[in-house]
């Protein structure tokens, strides 16, 4: 017999937040969905969430008291048993202060709410707080003096550290750390094409043809539905989960796996991963250099890492088996992208559009685009 819980979900309009909200509401809990701007919640499959028992609340985690009046903040704090903190900036390349405001200050404000109301906190972090550490990453490890690759990782480490510190003054919490969140385990369906999808698009369309990286490097992709299940179970079984951390991760894929699977699709270009030491940005054609600098460079560290995530705590608590599938899962993700038109139907390139509009200045054409860093085929 489960008790009906009153749960606040922050970031409820986000990819993970919406799925968690849907699951908690379906299980009969009373959910307050905290949203920043988007007042309509949409599930991962694109259908609006019209669950009974969900109340939307517009608030701003970057502001003290979440931007609510003192009275509203007090009422909110008094009316919730648990908080699931999903609100975060997860895309890369934003200004440093955005990560601080949303990911770190946002977590501090949510902790204040938990403290004010005596609510338990389920904090959604990232497996990549491990930074550039190699080898097996344990759920019990957090700050091991690791080097962090970017402002996103650094902010998530600071946020999780705040959650740990708050335990000392009585805020009970559990942490769920997803890896790279992608489409549904069985259908490959995803609502937002971000992060890894953008790299997939740039490479399969041949806009980026060589990437500094190692074929043995591993990327851990985890289905969004699995992540939402883990968070939901940790929330419902909080007494068992309190004080612990749960990796919500998938089966890691090597860049060799990526390369092999991409080569199965006749319409795809396959990028070459070249040893970082022999990669020369200056030899890229202008357009590829811009894509590299503005997009691919943000992920570069991930194409060198060989970590593996231990998920013993999750295996012990969560009934659903960890996602497997490796290459098959990647095929499912790509097949969905082809069905939805995200991949396989490239829009006209910048040079083509400008030529068509007769705006081709001298600065448009770059060096010959046929043999960047030996990526020519």
């Amino acid at each position: 017999m489960r008790r009906r819980l009153r749960v606040l979900v922050t970031g409820a309009a986000g990819l993970v937040g919406a799925e968690v909200t849907a699951r908690l509401a379906a299980a009969g809990h009373e959910v307050t969905a905290l949203v920043h701007r988007t007042p309509v919640l949409v599930g991962n499959d694109g259908t609006p969430l019209e669950a009974a028992g969900v109340r939307c609340l517009t608030a701003d985690v970057t502001r003290p008291r979440l931007g609510l009046s003192e009275a509203d903040h007090e009422a909110l704090a008094g009316g919730i048993d648990r908080i699931v903190h999903c609100a975060a900036i997860t895309d890369f390349g934003r200004p440093e202060e955005d990560y601080q405001r949303v990911n770190v200050d946002g977590t501090a404000h949510v902790l204040e709410l938990a403290r004010a109301g005596g609510a338990d906190l389920v904090h959604v972090g990232t497996a990549y707080v491990c930074g550039e550490r190699d080898g097996l990453i344990l759920e019990t490890e957090l700050d091991e003096g690791q080097r962090l690759a970017n402002a996103y990782e650094a902010s998530k480490l600071r946020a999780e550290t705040l959650v740990h510190k708050a335990r000392a003054d009585g805020v009970r919490s559990a942490v769920v750390r997803p890896s790279i969140v992608v489409g549904d385990e069985h259908t490959g369906v995803v609502r937002d094409y971000k992060n890894i999808y953008v790299v997939l698009k740039l490479t399969t369309e041949g806009k980026v043809r060589s990437i500094p990286g190692q074929y043995e490097a591993r990327l851990d992709l985890v289905p969004v539905d699995y992540v939402a299940d883990v968070i939901t179970q940790v929330t419902e079984r909080f007494d068992e989960a309190a004080g612990r951390t749960f990796h919500a991760v998938g089966a890691p894929l090597t860049l060799r796996d990526f390369s092999d699977v991409m080569a199965e699709y006749p319409s795809f270009q396959v990028p070459r991963f070249v040893p970082p030491t022999s990669f020369d940005l200056g030899r890229l054609p202008r357009e590829e250099r811009v894509y590299y600098e503005r997009v691919v460079a943000l992920y570069e560290s991930y194409f060198r890492r060989r970590m593996a995530f231990d998920a013993s705590n999750t295996a012990q608590l969560v009934a659903r088996p960890a996602p497997g599938g490796g290459q098959d899962f990647l095929r499912r993700l790509i097949d969905h992208c082809l069905e939805s038109g995200y991949l396989g139907a490239p829009l006209p390139g910048v040079a083509d559009v400008l030529a068509r509009l007769d705006l081709t200045g001298a600065d448009v054409s770059g060096p010959a685009a046929n043999d960047a860093n030996g990526a020519g085929r």
Partner: protein
């Protein structure tokens, strides 16, 4: 930086028609009537990658140096782009 579509010291109006042409031709969603209020994401289906490509197209089409990310991140409508590009062109012309 040769073959500019417009003379130096450009005004917003002179910039507008070229901006409209580029934004319209780059847009994932076609057949939408363009106005200053038209939004890039909701109306024209731009995603994050296509927005980067649009920035590139604007820089190259107008012969501008790299538009700073703090500015491009604030853009939501066609009118915002017209103002951003016009300001960047005035800055270029003043150099």
């Amino acid at each position: 930086m040769t073959s500019h579509p417009n003379p130096p010291c450009p005004t917003e109006d002179a910039t507008r028609s070229t901006v409209y042409a580029i934004v319209g031709a780059m847009a994932p969603m076609t057949g939408v009537e363009l106005a200053d209020e038209t939004t890039l994401v909701a109306d024209l289906a731009y995603d994050s990658l296509r927005l980067i490509e649009l920035t590139l197209a604007l820089e190259q089409g107008f012969g501008l140096p790299e538009l700073p990310q703090e500015e491009t991140a604030m853009v939501t409508t066609l009118g915002d782009i017209v103002r951003m590009v016009a300001a960047a062109r005035r800055q270029e012309a003043a150099r």
